[in-house]
């Protein structure tokens, strides 16, 4: 028995320059927000960019983008809708706001199905919003999306970093490229995370401060682009780490 979907995935991703998986060992650290904002920042810079929300049971990037009412077009595959020039795909287009209880094997199946049928076309970057932790979807992204680079998000908390350390060790064992670590929701000037990241021999990509104006901007891309969260991504992260966009 062969699963025919597997053999087409590579072809579907062929014209994508670089895949960036935004990941963390911990939940709630800002992955979805960062992934959405990064995808918007790359689009704004003129890169052809896609955003793929694979937190299938708890998708949220459509809230950030205000994209819940879009839907993919069908033409020998699924063509992702565009918002602000960004190609966007999420399971939300098929489940709306219903809950979807999925076990590990089901999650893998959703990923494989969507990888096999989504026609991303020609992209410079595909940003993936990962679910938290190190379960099936992380392993499947590594298995099926060979050009994935991991960008890891943490908060200043030792508890968050503890999980990030485990994630980085796993990624290193799997020989997956790690772009580096972002410290999000920074509130003081502690350099604990930066020190720890460097002592692991990985790159500290920079910090993003807690932005109290962010919540109001959710769902409206124009307002989002004006937040300090967004300008920190553009000025403190992308401008200082040209390897992310190379």
């Amino acid at each position: 028995m062969y699963d025919p979907r597997i053999s087409i995935i590579e072809k579907r991703l062929k014209k994508i320059g670089k895949v960036i998986a935004v990941s963390s060992g911990k939940g709630g650290v800002g992955k979805s927000l960062f992934a959405s904002a990064l995808a918007l920042a790359l689009t704004k810079k003129g890169f052809r960019t896609g955003l793929f929300d694979i937190d299938f049971t708890s998708p949220t990037t459509h809230i950030v983008l205000g994209a819940a009412n879009l839907s993919p077009r069908e033409s020998k595959g699924l063509i992702p809708p565009k918002i602000y020039g960004l190609k966007y795909m999420s399971l939300v287009f098929y489940i709306g706001n219903r809950s979807i209880p999925l076990r590990g094997a089901d999650l893998s199946n959703v990923l494989v199905e969507m990888l096999a049928t989504t026609l991303w076309g020609n992209l410079n970057f595909l940003v993936i919003d990962m679910p938290p932790g190190m379960s099936d979807l992380l392993l499947d992204v590594i298995k099926y999306v060979s050009k994935t680079h991991f960008l890891i998000v943490t908060t200043p908390s030792k508890m968050a970093f503890e999980t990030v350390r485990r994630l980085m060790n796993l990624l290193r064992d799997l020989k997956v490229p790690i772009l580096g670590v972002i410290e999000n929701m920074k509130m003081d000037d502690s350099n604990y995370v930066e020190r720890e990241v460097k002592s692991l021999g990985e790159k500290f990509l920079g910090e993003i401060h807690f932005d109290s104006g962010l919540e109001k901007a959710l769902g409206d891309i124009k307002s989002l682009l004006k937040t300090s969260f967004m300008s920190e991504i553009e000025e403190a992260i992308l401008a200082k780490n040209p390897e992310i966009t190379s």
Partner: protein
Amino acid sequence: MHEWSLAEAIISAVFSIVERENLREVKEVHLRLGELQQIEVDILKFALLQMKTGKLSNAKFTVRTARAKFKCRACNHIWTFREMKIPSDIKESIHFIPEVAHAYIKCPECGSPDFDVIQGRGLWITSVKGVK
């Protein structure tokens, strides 16, 4: 149609089997189709005919459909996709991504949303016959 992207996947999978098993020509490809995906067999076959080339040019495709069956994890009740009345827009979502069934279907006995698809989910190549 979704049938076309699946047909493309089948053709590409058969080509990799041809390479792996060093086949000169493929005679038969047997497929098993899960009912949950609601593939139009005629469209799938038509798409396969349009796409087969090279060592696959003379291949015959057979398609067998497997009924979709669910089993409740809470009360063990087993039921079929067929016996459910599902609106067509929801059926279409399930057609694209069969797991989406988990957002819409509940056990008809006890109402639990925790069930497994025990048969008839997706599309499989069951065998490829050819000459070496």
